[in-house]
Symmetry: C2
Subunit: 274 residues, 2 copies
């Protein structure tokens, strides 16, 4: 599997999972003064609204001749597989118990700052990494952030873009559809939660020979992985909220030092990716 660990991926922010314990006291959000609605006219929402700048720009940089792959994994030996098998009664019991557990999950925007053991976070990310992916490319990167300054910078980036999303980019239709959820662009939980997990999709990888490696169905694969991540977090009793910070990809990638260029890649001590 050495080929995967040596990949230098292109990062695009897909999802941000905010985790922690439920904050038990009541808490009021301090809304910012500039809350007047944009006077832009409503327009229908289209998929292209969600196209991230990073994704668009990365397509321009592709050199068609550079796509090539290795074949080193072609001749791996066969390893017999013996999964656990349960009786019909056990299956039924397990399916009911797991449903009850998952059905208790809610998206929670008021979280406690109480600390969470880092090893638990490591385990849930390992669990997410067991997800299937297109052609087994595993096109995901999980960045765990606990440092207060970095969390605050992430909040600033996301709130700035989200304010534009609410007031201009997404139109009145989107604002109207979200009204019943009572959300806005102020995301205090990004400061409060003990951990933010930023999930980046790798639209392609770079092989050791500098050739590009295609990541088929990378958005579907990363999202499946996030589903397993959410299940793993719910399983340990942590609350989460999953957000898709539109148009924040380039800035978050820069902040977290996950550039496409391997020569400048650095991983700060307080963050980990795998």
């Amino acid at each position: 599997m050495a080929v995967f660990s040596s990949l230098t991926p292109v990062f695009v922010a897909v999802l941000c999972v905010i985790i922690g314990f439920l904050f038990k006291s009541s808490q009021r959000r301090e809304t910012r003064s500039k809350q007047e609605r944009s006077d832009q006219t409503a327009r229908p929402w289209v998929d292209e609204d969600l196209q991230d700048d990073t994704e668009i720009s990365s397509k321009h940089n592709e050199d068609d001749d550079d796509w090539l792959d290795t074949t080193e994994e072609e001749n791996l030996p066969h390893i017999p597989y013996t999964p656990i098998q349960y009786s019909a009664t056990e299956m039924l019991e397990r399916s009911e118990k797991f449903y009850s557990l998952m059905n208790l999950r809610r998206s929670v925007r008021f979280v406690s700052p109480d600390p969470v053991p880092k090893q638990v976070i490591d385990n849930v990310i390992r669990t997410a990494g067991t997800a299937p992916s297109g052609a087994h490319t595993e096109p995901w990167t999980f960045v765990v952030v606990s440092d207060a300054d970095v969390k605050h910078k992430i909040r600033e980036i996301i709130e700035e873009e989200e304010e534009i999303n609410y007031k201009q980019r997404m139109g009145d239709k989107w604002v109207h559809d979200l009204k019943k959820l009572r959300t806005n662009w102020v995301k205090e939980y990004l400061d409060v939660a003990p951990y933010l997990i930023l999930v980046f999709k790798q639209t392609y990888g770079i092989l050791p020979n500098s050739k590009k490696k295609t990541h088929y169905y990378n958005e579907i694969s990363v999202s499946i992985s996030c589903g397993i991540l959410l299940a793993a977090l719910q399983n340990v009793g942590l609350v989460t909220v999953t957000t898709t910070p539109l148009n924040c990809g380039p800035q978050l990638r820069s902040l977290l030092q996950r550039p496409a260029n391997p020569a400048t890649r650095k991983i700060p001590a307080n963050e980990e990716g795998e």
Copy 2:
């Protein structure tokens, strides 16, 4: 939640999850005679290759003035939320146990025809339905197929399109990248597995007043839901293989009688959607 159950969605095949017990005996695939490689020249894979016909055509039918939503859910009362909370030791134990369980999952293409209790399948689909989704639109439809004739028709549709994918549509690059996985377009497991779960994304919904309802981030939402589905299936000891049958959407939608038009929608007795 009545507004959701009355939606008549647009269906696009995203994923097909094939489930069952592991087939323990060895079994050889009977390969078809027409296996000669396409002589088409290789070309780089692009995201557009994965664009489903249904998705493309559905965009042409959109009437911009039709986008409107209800506000009936705006004034729901607050319900206190009290999630389960574990000690640090318990969290660590639970995270390790769940990782061990999920890490045993493999994509399995040789499955046993042994029957699986339908109630277990119902429970895992309910579990998948607990996933978060963009603006809580829950833009997914799970179609469970166990009827032998319907399974075989699905196999015929998928194999026909997959043969084109392998020989023409996807190019030599894709065929080369899949070579190490030793897959081809012959998918006998579609006949053998006791259940196929076809997961359709709803690119938008129709409200009771015939207006369209926007489904934000529908592909990400459906894929997160599939991640939880796979976790639930692994949890009950069933093996799975997840496939993305490119370009099969329109035919599968027609076969399973999930058209966009509510007047002609029928659900055969042997299939269920929720």
